[in-house]
């Protein structure tokens, strides 16, 4: 971002100026102190001898006074000069990051949202805290979640916490390359994992086997006996089992030098953590990413767009266009991964279908909404808008996505 670069440049200049000024200040004051110290020593010796102030000393003294005055005043004014650089930083920040009319930042953001949102605020706060607690649990920040529960006097029942606690425990073990808890969990949930077509158990066994292999020829017998665990997976993962068995040949040489060195890749560990998280979440009926983070991310994308369009609407003075209640005025691109539900928009009326206006499939296979169908009825017959096929309106079949 170029604007950030601009701010950074100004900041660097200021930092540089502070540095040089600091050094200069310290140096000149040191010199002054040293000089005055010397003078004082001379004067002190003169005082001891009881001689009055000589003219030269007097002259030197007045010169010294002048020098002191000049130095300190210069220091003060030098510091003042840095002020312009400092304020330039502020201006750069304003240019880079401020919206129009920063004073109305509040109202700008609020204007994007309808007022109904802020009613029942207390209740909403409660629900929001709950969502935050859930998010924290899902991220594995258990202590923070506990603290929040305490501070906000939210009661989270143990049933809700339990699966997360367990998940977290297993994940921590996996991070330390301890496969035990994960294997236990996988075995106990074997049936449901199979329903999900998950190969988690196999992958865990595989990792263990590879680790045994990495132990060298000493572990050969152990590895072989462990290989019996592969038997239930023989049908589904035949190829991989063959690869692993083949790698036994190179056990004496060391796997790193064999064509099977890719088995020792450390990325397998990262992958197994991910697989475990995904499968565990599906079992629990949770999404992999917490709902809060997804909505937050989509909000980050949406907010600037909505603010822009609001500014345009106000500029063109057609405020009626955006009625806050029903729909957003503009489509916001979030990427295909965010398509959680099917949305059918009738191609004729350009509106989303709903329960009261469902999509209807015509005989020819084209789909339009019921309202559009009713509009197209002409004398008891219906002509499909896409292919010239005539049909009876009653023949249309309601479909569900």
């Amino acid at each position: 971002m170029e604007q950030c670069a601009c701010v950074e440049r100004e900041l660097d200049k200021v930092l540089q100026k502070f540095l040089t000024y600091g050094q200069h200040c310290e140096r000149s004051l040191e010199e002054l102190l040293h000089y005055v110290g010397q003078l004082r020593a001379e004067l002190a010796s003169a005082a001891l001898q009881g001689t009055p102030l000589s003219a030269t000393l007097s002259l030197v003294m007045s010169q010294c006074c002048r020098k002191i005055k000049d130095t300190v005043q210069k220091l003060a004014s030098d510091h003042k000069d840095i002020h312009s650089s400092v304020s330039r930083v502020g201006k750069a920040i304003d240019r880079a990051l401020s919206l129009l009319l920063r004073q109305n930042f509040d109202s700008e953001i609020c204007g994007v949202v309808s007022d109904a949102v802020w009613d029942a605020r207390e209740q909403q706060q409660q629900i929001l805290q709950m969502a935050i607690v859930e998010h924290l649990y899902q991220q594995g920040m258990l202590s923070v979640a506990e603290e929040l529960c305490q501070e906000s006097t939210l009661n989270v029942d143990l049933d809700f916490k339990q699966p997360f606690l367990e998940l977290n425990r297993i994940l921590e073990a996996l991070h330390e390359q301890d496969l035990g808890p994960a294997l236990e969990w996988a075995v106990s949930h074997r049936q449901r994992l199979l329903e999900l077509n998950s190969s988690l158990e196999f992958k865990l066994h595989r990792l263990h086997f590879i680790r045994l292999l990495a132990g060298g020829p000493a572990k050969q017998l152990e590895a072989l006996s462990y290989a019996r665990h592969f038997q239930p997976f023989a049908r589904l993962h035949q190829r991989e089992i063959q690869v692993m068995m083949g790698s036994l040949v190179y056990l004496r040489l060391g796997l790193e030098k064999s064509p099977y060195c890719h088995l020792l890749d450390s990325s397998h560990w990262a992958e197994i953590c991910e697989t475990f998280t995904r499968d565990a979440c599906s079992l629990l009926g949770l999404s992999v990413e917490s709902p809060l983070s997804v909505s937050f991310a989509s909000g980050c994308v949406a907010l600037p767009v909505l603010m822009n369009i609001k500014a345009v609407i106000e500029q063109r003075q057609c405020t009626g266009v955006w009625n806050h209640k029903d729909e957003l005025p503009i489509e916001i691109e979030l990427g295909m991964k965010c398509w959680y539900h099917s949305v059918f928009a009738c191609p004729i009326l350009r509106q989303q279908t709903s329960d009261s206006n469902p999509p209807i499939k015509l005989i020819c296979g084209h789909v339009i909404s019921r309202d559009a169908l009713n509009k197209l009825i002409n004398g008891g017959k219906l002509k499909c808008p896409y292919c010239p096929m005539e049909q009876n309106p009653a023949d249309g079949k309601r479909i569900i996505f």
Binding site: L53, V89, E331
Partner: protein
């Protein structure tokens, strides 16, 4: 991450969100610079004074001893100057370096490696959460979260903690801390034309009267803390209770027992409240929100009328700052995007585990919000979650339910398919292709 943000979208979001991130350390830098300048100027004038004295004695015929002692004074003042200058510059440097650290963090958003970008997004989420928690008053949680995510540098915790102290002292009915804070931020408050200090002085006055320290009360410098007489009258007009401080002062100070209803009201403990709400309104953040008062919604007390105006508070934080933004983001902005009718079907049959709006808490929160706008159809197979398009054409079973072709293939067993939603069994060939424009 589920939500894909393009580079252009990211930089737009930065503009909306990150202003306080940079502005707050800048304001601290500015403040420290001004303090440093004042210190240096003050010490310089001390030095100049002592040197002038020395020069004066030199012009006469001084005794050496007096010159020596004056010189000692000069040395002392110079050392003080040196020390203060070094300290001030260090403080300024620190603020500037903090600014720099934050900028570097912001730059990382556009890094090329996807891992770094997703770490940045994670940190952004944590940052916003910390700010939100601070505004809700959950300070311990916020501090813990910041420490755990390693974002202590990037959030403005100290500011809120300072404000918390001021608030707590106000709740204990002490004006000293708040007055000190006002003094600290004098110039900004003056720019905002804030009545905070004035209200505080009135409160101090009232408290002293209540404790029967009338003489001290009269000495409270009410006039001095007010910018101009015109504003004084404006403030008095807003004061529904006392017609003028003069009246209050004189009647109370003279100990008249026939104090009118107005004066009695002024002594009510509830006078504390507006001052309390005023402070946060000036200081920062959603503390107004905490006291169930949003500047946007309008004032709930005489003092807050004035407070509602300056939406640009002392440290350049939006009054209902990013914390509300945090509420705004997930609340209204985010959810409409995924918000569909299907998330609210009564039998809960069409809930998707991945959809954030279908999740328990967000469901309730998102209910009053507008729906997302979709001009084009996008179809998702209920079985696999994959997109249904020309590569995976939608197929309708005789019961009207539609699934993707690939998913039907995968659940096909002996040429039959079982509809996952109604459990009816159909022949594979009974599935008809559906054409979506």
């Amino acid at each position: 991450m589920a939500v894909q943000e393009s580079a252009a979208q990211l930089s737009m979001t930065l503009k909306v969100q990150e202003y306080p991130t940079l502005k707050v350390p800048y304001e601290t830098l500015n403040k420290r610079f001004r303090a440093a300048q004042k210190n240096i100027d003050r010490e310089t004038s001390h030095v100049t004074m002592v040197v002038a004295e020395l020069e004066k004695t030199l012009s006469g015929c001084p005794a050496v001893d007096s010159v020596v002692s004056l010189l000692d004074g000069v040395v002392e003042k110079l050392s003080v100057l040196k020390r203060k200058a070094v300290e001030s510059i260090q403080a300024e440097d620190e603020s500037a370096k903090l600014c720099k650290r934050r900028i570097e963090h912001l730059k990382e958003h556009s890094s090329d490696q996807p891992a770094a970008a997703s770490v940045w997004k994670r940190k952004r989420m944590d940052r916003m959460m910390v700010e939100h928690l601070l505004r809700c008053g959950y300070y311990n949680t916020a501090v813990k979260l910041a420490r755990q995510s390693g974002i202590e540098d990037l959030v403005n915790i100290e500011m809120f903690l300072t404000a918390k102290e001021v608030e707590e002292s106000l709740e204990r009915r002490e004006t000293a801390t708040c007055l000190a804070w006002c003094h600290d931020n004098k110039s900004r408050l003056r720019k905002m034309k804030s009545c905070l200090e004035f209200s505080l002085r009135i409160q101090e006055f009232i408290e002293l009267i209540r404790q029967n320290k009338r003489l001290d009360a009269v000495r409270v410098p009410a006039r001095r803390s007010f910018p101009s007489t015109s504003e004084l009258t404006v403030h008095m007009a807003l004061e529904r209770r006392a017609p003028s401080t003069g009246l209050e002062a004189s009647s109370l100070a003279s100990g008249s027992t026939g104090a009118g209803k107005t004066c009695k009201k002024a002594l009510q403990p509830s006078r504390r409240e507006p001052a309390g709400r005023g402070a946060p309104g000036h200081g920062h953040a959603g503390l107004p929100a905490r006291h169930a008062h949003l500047p946007v919604q309008g004032p709930s007390g005489p003092c807050t009328v004035a407070d509602a105006d300056p939406a640009v508070p002392v440290r350049q934080l939006p009054t209902t700052p990013a914390g509300k933004q945090f509420c705004v983001h997930p609340h209204p902005a985010g959810w409409p995007l995924s918000h569909q009718d299907t998330c609210y079907k009564e039998d809960g049959s069409s809930k998707s585990p991945d959809c954030p709006v279908c999740s328990r808490s967000l469901n309730k929160l998102a209910q009053p919000l507008p729906m997302a706008h979709c001009a084009n159809s996008r179809l998702v197979c209920k079985i696999s979650g994959d997109v249904m398009n020309e590569n995976n054409p939608p197929m309708m079973l005789p019961n009207g339910y539609v699934y993707g072709y690939n998913s039907l293939l995968s659940i096909r067993q002996d040429d039959k398919v079982v509809c996952p939603r109604t459990k009816e069994v159909f022949h594979f060939s009974q599935a008809e292709k559906v054409y979506i424009m």
